[in-house]
Symmetry: none
Subunit: 140 residues, 8 copies
């Protein structure tokens, strides 16, 4: 069983993805899995772990709890996680600690790897890849 | 005892009401009965049946439950039901299953028939009734 | 044994009260007697009879039993009864069956008659009383 | 000894009641007899037989015994029996074995037959009765 | 004794359903049986088994127990089970262990098979079924 | 037993306070006693009496009960009472009925009289006091 | 008499499990044996020993005794024991003292060793295991 | 018995930490231990002691008790304690009084000391440490 951090190790372009690019990959993956995760994840369960790892503050958890349905709560949680480079990794650790939703881990790993490979493909076709770290893809 | 669907069978204009028109009738009837139904109906009791018939989703029920009084909960429930052509019919079935509020069934039937007859009257006075199905009445 | 429904037979306005009006009268009477009944009635004692007459469901009795004091339990019971046109009548029958609280019967009858007479007075002053059955009083 | 299941054999609609419909009939009959049975039946007497027939578990009997009066105990017992298609039949067998309350048997049989006939009447008025087994009535 | 997972073995489209599709089938079946299961299942009885199989955590059981009626408790339990691919299977195992509600097993199996067949029919009409695993049906 | 309304009888300006002015006085007194009353009063205890006197509706009591601490509940109750000219009087009657908090009665009376006297003083200094009944004080 | 703590002595990774890891192992083992232990253990029998060893307080035993069936009582007892690093060991000592349930001892030991070995396997695959004592697994 | 406050006595920067800095340390430690403490601590047990030391008010305890699971209750308790400079110390005293969770004391002390040392390290690298007491670290 490979750790969640293992997906950022290698790349097909001759160079590994930078941290910023990997953060983009995770953000994009979270976006694609959004409907699935909003069904499966109960936001409150992960508050304590995410706060202890300083991914969420107490105020963030209050903002999330103020939503009126569990899907909206999870949606807000994913918004917070997407903005933090370690957000998705810490969520995965929290899911692993809970133990009742291990089936989610494989799914998330699959999607992240899929998005990462697409990114690597795009970078191969696009030689000018030393540019501004915040850009989403090489076409804008 | 006639089934709840029976009110959509005949009409006085020479033609029965279309499904869209009947949906309008039910929506209008729900609106008129609103104060009465908000007093009588306890929203949570009908969640299971309405979910099993795919009238409400789990998220809808969470939204309803987040309200702070039973009247507001029922009000929100009626809003959801009004937007679904089968909403009122399924609520009636659920009331019949509960058995303790059969007195509501006659009331609801009476109001729906009253609104339906008004609709038929309006259509009689208004020959151009083959138009756009989503319009509310024939005057706009 | 005169039935509890006997109070709905006559009226001073030249016409008897309609069923809806009488339901309003009973609901109002239950509201006025609330502090008195909450002291006197033990909700659990009437569950079996009220369930057999389809005034309460099993779920209703569970909701009532979840309250933390007997006054709150009876209060919740009265809320359920108030919404059912036959609620008060069936409670009276159940009290009569128990036999230990017959002193309640006279009290309840007195209050219902008092509220009914007030209703009849109000109707006398207000000739337009053939209107829409769901309205609460003749002033809207 | 004729089995207690004998009441489910014939019907007036040209077809016998399905198992689900018969389960509904028994559940409804138990509900109607509730005040009577709660007075007459002593729950603990039937524990051993009901456990041997796998209608109750040990945990169920503990839950029942934790109630504070014999009426409440019997009430809880009836709740468990109502949810099991063979619950009422097994209770009848247990009463018959005890021999001291045979007068109950006739009463129970009468009520079940009465409810069953009402059910058959309702079905006669409603020809479309070959549908989905979980529905409670024939109107959907 | 055939395992509860046996229903996922064959399919009529030339290929068996994927795990994701089967999870969808079970979730949909739970939704349809909701009113029936909420009547029959007592949530607390299954806590120990579901916790030992890591379907529920202790916190989940506390959330369920905080509800005020047994129907609401079971409703919440079903919500948790629906989100877990193995939720329904484990519930079935737990029912089988209890032994007093074996009549539920046939019902549940029937509904799951019915929903599964509907799914297979839908897939047959829709050739493009090798796509993204998270999608719910073939129409988006 | 002197009625709680006795404090509105006389005034030092040559004329008694109008009903509107007295309602202002009571509202102001409730505001000043707020921290004290929030500590001492348990809102739920007064629901039945206040509902029977039509100061609160069932919906109001549900709104109050939805608060998460007894201080917040009492605070919300005081908000409702402050808007009703008879709110404070009815609360006093309810406290008197309970009998365990008679020490509150003297305190409340003192504060109301104090506020009333301040009001009378203000009116003396301000001859133009026949104006618009809804104004709060004579300076705007 | 070998102490129950003897299972924490050796490990296959070259290092023994830390106290925290061993506490996790016991907690997990208790969770897996839950349905079995809830059937077999009578909570009240172990109160005196567990209180004398300061695993339970008097308040804990009162909380346990307030449950309505013996299964629920044992379930609550296991929840308390799982949170205490010495909880399971002390329970084992108490079972040994009682002498009538020695068959439980082997079962418990087997499950604990099984969980422990799984833990050691997971640690072997993951060399970086000297980190922060509160983490549950070796992947952060 | 050394007091829990003993950890605030010395420092490695040539000066001890100020009270505000120490409060920051404890708040940070509570945040890091959050998942662990939420599992282990039962909030209600510490209410009486914390109220007697004026760390919690009656209203705080009601707010905590209104949560639906024990983890959420403890989470809320930790939020209150984190905002009070003496919150953690008083919790430690309360744990020591209970005697059944002494294993927690060592853990908490370890984490507080670890966080404190990190703080001292940060202060050493940053000579300008006589500034505004409310700042969190020396980098803003």
């Amino acid at each position: 069983m490979e750790g969640p951090g293992s997906w950022s190790s290698s790349g097909g372009v001759g160079r590994p993805l930078t941290e910023d690019e990997m953060a983009e990959v995770k953000k994009d993956a979270l976006e694609r899995m959004r409907p699935y995760l909003c069904d499966k994840i109960i936001a409150e369960r992960h508050f304590d772990y995410l706060r202890s790892k300083k991914i969420l503050t107490r105020e963030d958890t209050e903002e999330i709890s103020a939503r009126s349905s569990s899907r909206k709560k999870t949606g807000k949680l994913l918004d917070y996680l997407a903005e933090n480079p370690k957000g998705l990794d810490t969520l995965i650790e929290s899911i692993r600690r809970e133990r009742t939703q291990n089936f989610l881990l494989q799914k998330i790993t699959d999607v992240v790897l899929k998005v990462k490979n697409e990114k690597l493909e795009a970078l191969k076709d696009c030689p000018d890849n030393e540019n501004y770290a915040f850009q989403r893809n090489c076409f804008d």
